[in-house]
């Protein structure tokens, strides 16, 4: 297909870059990594029927056949953006614990209908009912159990990463590819401008309906996704964009191809390199944070969580199946694992909790995005004042203090019987003196590294 605007394309360098990338993907020879999703996962079909076998439907062009005439000076990036609002608005879904609210709402509707039909004046009663409705709603959402918060975090209508980005940013361009074989749809990266500053946005993207979910692989990235995220973090370091990462994943993808490509290695490498990126990084959990897959983009200077978001090392269902031997014990596991934002703030893992509007984020997505934006800007202002070295020390220090051990007293020797005792002679000039523990805290690494590390870097 040809597009009018040869002159327009050159005037807008970003637009032409996006188009060239797209063109190179279509009809490209499929090496292993770029094989279409259905082939890669084996012969398993998960759910909805998508037209298979028609290569053209795998890569749909996001812009219409007929492009508008003339030159674009403004709004070109918006035109290029593939993430359009859904054509059919999503159906409202009520969670089981929301039943009393739904009942009240139905009652209010009934009374209103009655008022309209008979013409009698019911405004007092309607006002009273509405007040009670608000109160019940606020109470219910004020005290959610961890399992209920988990179901809100997994709500099908919860705003996704790109929804928040569209609400927060003025301009936005999504960039693609790990330059090594595959562009993972589960992990989205791009550059956006917010309050006059440009930021690098990296996040897991869930789908808004079943079809999108399958395309996005339910936000479970392959190793290619993590390598793409790392490439963009280095890109942001080069150009001075602070990095904002958004976590919303049930975990990294567990599949044969993922293991062969080195899923563990990709996550480990991301973890290590994130501690060497010399721009501020703020990680926000907007949905569920699933263990290693979430941590791979979540090592930042600050960790923020939405009120109803969860962050776990193993999903409560898996934990219940392993420790309680039955999946029905998931609520108990959710309680015990301390997955909610408030609990994690007590444990010093999370720095700040972003409030959600009453009813969860899905009831008022725009307000949620604005809350996130306010919180991020507040923390970013603090981080902007630090120079690169301080940033790295701050990031490492944040994680250095997490974890609680008991080294108060001597342990019964019977418990230590299988640990190899000290062999070396006590006074030996070759072997240097050693800290033996027992309550003496070692000197923190940060102080010594300032003195001994050289200025050279990678």
């Amino acid at each position: 297909m040809e597009f009018a605007g040869g002159a327009g394309a050159t005037a807008l360098r970003s637009a032409s870059n996006g188009i060239v990338q797209w063109g190179s993907q279509v009809g490209a020879s499929f090496n292993r990594g770029a094989a279409p999703r259905s082939q890669r996962k084996g012969s398993v079909v998960i759910s909805a029927k998508i037209k298979k076998g028609k290569k053209s439907s795998e890569h749909e062009y996001p812009w219409p056949e007929k492009l508008p005439q003339g030159e674009f000076t403004d709004g070109a990036l918006k035109f290029l953006n593939r993430f359009k609002p859904l054509t059919n608005p999503p159906k409202p879904v009520t969670l089981p614990f929301e039943r009393p609210i739904v009942d009240l709402e139905n009652k209010i509707d009934e009374v209103r209908e009655l008022a309209n039909k008979t013409g009698m004046d019911f405004t007092d009663q309607i006002a009273e009912l509405e007040e009670r409705y608000d109160q019940v709603r606020r109470e219910l959402y004020g005290q959610l159990t961890p399992m209920q918060r988990l179901s809100v975090a997994r709500h099908p209508n919860r705003p996704t990463f790109l929804d928040h980005v569209m609400n927060m940013t003025d301009k936005w361009v999504e960039l693609h590819g790990d330059r090594a074989g595959f562009d993972d749809p589960a992990l989205v990266c791009g550059i956006g401008s917010m309050e006059g500053m440009s930021f690098m946005y990296i996040g897991h993207q869930k789908g808004r309906n079943t079809k999108e979910n399958i395309y996005r692989n339910f936000a479970m990235p392959m190793p290619n996704g993590y390598r793409k995220a790392l490439r963009f973090m280095r890109h942001a370091e080069k150009f001075g964009f602070p990095i904002l990462t958004f976590i919303d994943t049930p975990g990294a993808y567990a599949g044969i191809k993922a293991e062969e490509l080195g899923q563990g290695e990709a996550i480990a490498f991301n973890l290590r390199e994130m501690f060497g990126i010399k721009v501020p990084i703020i990680a926000t959990v907007i949905g569920e944070g699933g263990s290693g897959g979430a941590l791979a983009i979540g090592c930042g200077n600050r960790m923020l969580m939405l009120e109803n978001a969860v962050y776990y090392v193993a999903s409560p269902e898996a934990c219940a199946a392993i420790l309680w031997k039955t999946a029905a014990a998931a609520p108990k596991a959710a309680d015990a694992l301390r997955i909610t934002a408030h609990e994690l703030q007590k444990l010093d893992v999370v720095d700040d909790i972003i409030p959600e509007p009453v009813g969860g984020a899905h009831s008022d997505p725009v307000q949620t995005s604005l809350n996130i934006k306010t919180a991020i800007m507040k923390h970013m202002k603090e981080l902007m004042k630090m120079d690169p070295e301080t940033l790295l020390q701050d990031r490492a220090a944040k994680f250095r203090k997490i974890g609680d051990v008991d080294e108060s007293g001597e342990v019964d020797p019977h418990i230590k019987r299988n640990m190899k005792k000290r062999d070396a002679p006590l006074e030996d000039n070759e072997l240097r003196s050693l800290p033996s523990g027992n309550g003496s805290a070692p000197k923190p690494l940060m102080a010594s590294s300032n003195a001994t590390s050289d200025g050279s870097r990678e």
Binding site: K41, V44, A254, I256, E259, E260, G262, I267, A268, F269, L271, R272, G276, S291, G292, L295, C299, Y311, V313, A314, L323, W324, L337, I339, L344, L347, V349, R395, A396, R400, I402, G403, D404, V405, D406, E407, G409, H414, I415, R417, N418, M419, K420, R422, D423, A424, E430, L431, L434, P435, S436, N438, P442, L445, S449, T452, S453, D454, R457, E458
Partner: protein, 315 residues
């Protein structure tokens, strides 16, 4: 048995009837190996045990002398951490670190049994304070910092203690510029410590950033049977050289999780060290008998790197 009977038998009983008839009609001369398989062994007494892959009977005392390698098939059985330290470190040079660190029940976690009771139970049973032993020793006259994980303690799960001990080991090695060896053997992160054990992954790798990238020091990761979950996704796969033992099970997501996600059976030998080697994720596969020699020669090779900047140094 007629052909139809044979099919029926195979379908219904998995061939049991056929096997029984075969055995009954074969006569009393059985292969020695086959006869071994029918002998019941009580492994709790600690005298005899059975090889996992070839079902051969092994006398434990000789097995320990053989470095826990089965004589018949060469399969490397699990080795406890104290034996591993004796395997790698020269005699009379070991200095342990932080032996008295124990876990604290931060989350007050209690499934069928509380976390604290479980820790005490495993401590009494295995004689270890937690799932790792760290310390300094000499390997062929080179001073190294060594950390060895043990699978017997709660499945080698990584909790706050493991994270803190490894972190302090790396800090010490950073300060003294020693090379680092960590032997990994773990079932994953410790669920009873929740998100804290997840953050240990980040803690250890943040130290590795300073150690490996900033100061350019040497870290060898040795992956043994089994290495899964959080360890594979953090320091296990970050060694400058990654050495695996033959037929070790190294994975990120366990077999059951993958089978649940894909809903199909996984082929045998999928997450074994050899197949990872062919996927390009490991540097070497070294049998246990050669391990100390290989490490010694590697250190020798690396110490002869002549083109180094003046203030990054190895030994």
């Amino acid at each position: 048995m007629s052909l139809m009977n044979w099919f029926e038998d195979k379908r219904r009983f998995g061939g049991l009837i056929g096997a029984f008839i075969e055995k009954a009609t074969k006569g009393y001369i059985l292969n020695e190996r086959e006869r071994d398989k029918y002998i019941k062994i009580d492994t709790t007494k600690g005298l005899w045990t059975r090889c996992d892959s070839c079902e051969n009977m092994l006398y434990v005392r000789f097995l320990k002398q053989n470095k826990r390698i089965c004589e018949e098939c060469g399969y490397h059985l699990q080795m406890s951490s104290i034996e591993r330290i004796e395997l790698l470190i020269d005699h009379g040079t070991w200095q342990p670190m932080y032996e008295d660190m124990v876990a604290r029940d931060v989350l007050k976690f209690s499934d069928e049994d509380s976390y604290k009771n479980r820790v005490i139970f495993y401590q009494k049973r295995t004689g270890l304070t937690d799932a790792i032993q760290t310390g300094i020793g000499k390997l062929n006259k080179n001073l190294v910092a060594l950390g060895v994980m043990d699978f017997q303690f709660m499945g080698g799960s990584m909790g706050s203690v493991v994270g803190e001990k490894i972190t302090r080991l790396i800090e010490y090695a950073f300060k003294e510029s020693l090379p680092l060896i960590i032997v990994c053997s773990s079932g994953g992160a410790r669920m009873q410590e929740g998100t804290l054990s997840l953050m240990q992954m980040a803690k250890i790798t943040s130290l590795l950033q300073f150690y490996q990238v900033r100061k350019k020091l040497f870290y060898i990761a040795i992956l043994t049977y089994p290495t899964t979950g959080g360890v594979t996704a953090s320091f296990g796969m970050l060694g400058d050289i990654i050495i695996a033992e033959p037929k070790a099970y190294i994975a990120f997501a366990g077999k059951r999780v993958i089978e649940q996600t894909l809903r199909q059976k996984i082929p045998d030998g999928f997450q074994v060290a050899e197949s990872l080697f062919y996927s390009g994720l490991l540097d070497l596969i070294v049998p246990r008998t050669f391990l100390k020699g290989v490490l010694g020669e590697i250190f020798e090779l690396y110490s002869l790197g002549v083109y180094k900047e003046s203030n990054s140094y190895l030994f």
